[in-house]
């Protein structure tokens, strides 16, 4: 199946739910609404055999959070993009559909403070246990401030 055929098939199947762009060979970008993400992922898994998720990238665009789900099948890479507002950073979990997504969703929760609803295991993954609440390092407005050094028992 060539790229153009696959795009046509995907477009016919998903209809108005997805905007499909192909910026280069073997690279497809599907834009879907955040509310549709689980539906679209389930559909492409069942109808097109897209089972392999490489990772989930989060991007802070300043006005919204963009999530990219990087899927691939042997012939094609599919990147499903969705946007969620900064004020209400919530997205539904795709782990029930793609069990391998769990670690990436936990990472997104830690780094961007996006609440993944319905995640089977939502504990912090990479940030330390004593990390202060409400600090999300990969947000663009987060700046690292080195804490003042405290020497135990010393003067400092």
């Amino acid at each position: 199946m060539t790229d153009a055929e696959l795009i046509a098939k995907l477009q016919a199947d998903l209809g108005s739910r997805a905007e499909i762009a192909s910026p280069g060979p073997r690279r497809l970008f599907l834009k879907v609404a955040a509310a549709d993400i689980v539906t679209v992922v389930t559909r492409i898994r069942d109808a097109f055999g897209v089972v392999f998720l490489s990772t989930i990238s989060g991007v802070d665009t300043g006005t919204a959070f963009e999530l990219l789900y990087h899927f691939s099948i042997p012939e094609q890479d599919l990147n499903v993009r969705t946007e969620i507002p900064r004020e209400v950073p919530r997205v539904a979990s795709i782990s029930p559909v793609i069990p391998g997504a769990i670690l990436y969703e936990r990472e997104i929760q830690d780094m961007f403070g996006i609440v993944v609803e319905g995640i089977p295991d939502g504990r912090p993954l990479v940030l330390p246990d004593d990390w202060p609440e409400g600090q999300f390092p990969l947000r663009k407005d987060w700046k690292f401030v080195r804490p003042a050094e405290v020497i135990p028992g010393g003067e400092s």
Partner: protein
């Protein structure tokens, strides 16, 4: 009665900080939990503060074994963003280093696997021979670990005739010795019995949990980025994807042995077919606004970088996913229903560079006195039943 055994994050037997929490019942692991982040260095945030060239060297420092794979994956993406076409000779040298790196990484891993299975002469011989490829890498790039041979638009050092001859000589020697050792490994019944049936991961589980690399290929899932997304030179070379269908540690050993032999072939093809010409083109300082996804088959599996540029000399966002993270979910499944003594073997089999984990573990919590008496006999019973229960599948096809 179940115990929880914490291994790590700081543990004399671990080379890298990671926290494994095993819930065990007798000798059998009933649940496993992995906690990460003890080595989180914030590289993705840091990369947003560095320019395109500085980031090559930052990416190279993500890993100390497959350093070239991160740098190459990043450089591929930046070249696509800058719409650069590196010269063929540069690409051949870049992927020659990739394959040499795969050889050194797989030899290292085979040694570790031999060591974890108690076959230490295998470990010593493979590591001795690994020095041959380390010397070749040093000769080609000037460094043993961080080769720093990549640059945006090509590579930084050229190959001369003398070096080409030395690489061919080294690879011929490696092939001869590897085949000999692996024949010994394949015909050594105690080694095969120790690794067969350990750490089972069915194909369905591998697919569901998105496993990558030799871990997925040993479960019969023939996915290799070099084949399906043939970047740069791989569509010009003759080679095959190595798979096994035993779904256990034995399969993972066999897959890596097959990949080694494929890599030797690829190195020879690349050295013999090295085109003439330049090794690099000049790269601009800035990249146009855009985004790209770059995939690369590292020794441990698929490595993926997502880069978004905003028209300046720094990336807007650089997302890195290294193969070991993708395999953690599968590792938890492999560890379940395994034995404590198999933890290091299973864990080493995804090649996370963490080994010897069983040497000194501490039993904590959930301990109730009277039950432990019952368990002593139970433990012995389980220990005796272990060979009977193990799914020995010594039938994996070795590549000879």
């Amino acid at each position: 009665m179940s115990f929880q055994i914490p291994i790590g994050p700081q543990h004399p037997a671990l080379k890298e900080p990671i926290s494994l929490r095993m819930t065990v019942e007798g000798e059998v692991i009933t649940d496993a939990d992995i906690r990460l982040g003890y080595n989180h260095r914030g590289i993705e945030k840091l990369a947003e503060e560095r320019n395109w060239i500085q980031n090559i060297y930052l990416m190279e420092r993500i890993c100390g074994i497959c350093s070239h794979s991160h740098a190459t994956c990043y450089v591929q993406a930046v070249e696509r963003l800058m719409e650069l076409v590196p010269p063929k000779r540069g690409l051949y040298i870049r992927y020659l280093v990739s394959e040499l790196e795969r050889v050194h990484s797989h030899l290292l891993w085979l040694g570790v696997a031999g060591h974890e299975a108690g076959f230490d002469s295998f470990f010593m011989y493979t590591w001795r021979d690994r020095e041959i490829v380390m010397d070749l890498l040093e000769m080609v790039s000037g460094n043993r670990v961080h080769y720093a041979i990549n640059t945006v638009g090509g590579v930084r050092r050229d190959l001369d005739e003398g070096q080409k001859a030395k690489i061919l000589e080294g690879v011929a020697m490696l092939r001869k010795r590897s085949v000999y050792y692996f024949k010994i490994g394949a015909s050594e019944p105690s080694f095969v019995a120790r690794i067969a049936g350990v750490g089972l991961l069915t194909k369905e589980q591998a697919v569901a949990l998105c496993a990558v690399g030799p871990t997925a290929r040993a479960s019969g899932w023939d996915r290799d980025v070099r084949k399906e997304d043939p970047y740069a030179v791989y569509d010009e070379l003759e080679w095959e994807v190595a798979t096994a269908d035993t779904c256990d540690v034995l399969g993972r050993v066999v897959v890596r042995v097959k990949e080694l032999l494929q890599s030797y072939n690829m190195i020879e093809q690349m050295v013999q077919g090295l085109p003439a010409g330049d090794i690099t083109v000049k790269a601009p300082r800035k990249a146009k606004p855009g985004e790209t996804v770059s995939r690369y088959e590292a020794p441990r599996g698929e490595n993926i970088h997502y880069i978004k540029s905003n028209g300046t000399e720094k990336p807007e966002r650089l997302k890195v996913r290294a193969p070991t993270l993708a395999n953690y979910a599968a590792t938890v499944v492999m560890l379940k229903n395994g034995f404590i003594a198999d933890i290091p073997l299973i864990f080493a089999a995804i090649d996370p560079c963490i080994c010897c984990a069983e040497r000194s573990v501490t039993l904590v919590d959930g301990r109730s006195g009277e039950e432990s008496i019952v368990r002593t006999s139970d433990l012995r019973r389980r220990a005796l039943a272990r060979p009977a229960n193990a799914l020995v599948k010594g039938k994996a096809v070795w590549p000879f």
